[in-house]
Symmetry: C2
Subunit: 167 residues, 2 copies
């Protein structure tokens, strides 16, 4: 079951974010807004900007698929500076998440996963890793990306976040 509780929701969230960014890109074009105004926007000076929120959504998704399948954690460099590049990054993350053999997730609920948390190695079961670490992180960064865009007047709605539109 852990594959079914990991890959479909991550795929759905990534593609929801992909559709949300497409709307933000179109918003910039329609209103002659410099895309950098949104891509570098933050909700507070010491929070990450939109670009980084998207990168982190991708990273936490890819790492979840890798760690739960005991496969290599992919390394995607954080070089994106445009909506098109962020869209491509999301597709790479989705493709990675979907490329992992479902059978490799078997037994991941009870397998020990080691992560760095506040600089220290923390061990937890795969189930705890997914449910109290990876998913809250993915949804945090996807929601914060959404909130940055909403705060800047981009017309996206809850249905976009839930993946009910734009597929």
């Amino acid at each position: 079951m852990i594959h079914a509780a990991t890959v479909p929701p991550l795929t759905r969230m990534l593609m929801a974010l992909h559709a949300i960014l497409a709307k933000a890109d179109a918003h910039c074009i329609a209103r002659k807004i410099d895309p950098a105004a949104l891509l570098t926007a933050r909700l507070f000076p010491d929070m990450f900007p939109l670009t980084r929120q998207v990168q982190l959504t991708c990273d936490f998704s890819s790492r979840a698929a890798a760690r739960l399948s005991a496969s290599e954690v992919p390394n995607f460099p954080d070089t994106e500076t445009t909506f098109d590049e962020l869209a491509a990054r999301i597709i790479r993350a989705r493709d990675h998440v979907n490329s992992v053999d479902p059978a490799a997730f078997d037994g991941a609920e009870r397998r020990v996963v080691t992560i760095k948390m506040r600089g220290q190695d923390v061990q937890m079961t795969g189930l705890d890793y997914l449910t109290i670490f990876a998913l809250p992180q993915v949804y945090f960064h996807a929601t914060t990306a959404y909130n940055i865009l909403r705060h800047n007047g981009v017309e996206v709605g809850k249905a976009d976040y839930m993946g009910l539109t734009g597929r």
Copy 2:
């Protein structure tokens, strides 16, 4: 496994939000800020204010536990106007989530759950309901509550959201 993928993460997120609101309350007292300034704050005029984000985090949590255990969906009136009242609301939601007999979740992965989505009845398996509906909703509203507070200068951090502090 569906009980383990539902109750512990919901409990953890609710208690993280409880701790975050306690810091917001303390922030208001220390700086002589009217708590209503935060409780009614929104990231955009047509988004819900903090109070409603907290109520929705509670509601989606309680409904998840109820629907997955085929037990009664509790009805909590939305009457909170203070941090203390929101804290009590969170505790009620947590107590409800934890009061459900774990055995009642058995087989919920495959049981059909019916929810209203955009005014229409939508049926899905319990697993889909949890992973692509309930959890994304809970984390959306908890993150948005956090983002409203961050945007208003309350000193909370990711560790608070992840439930690593203030327990």
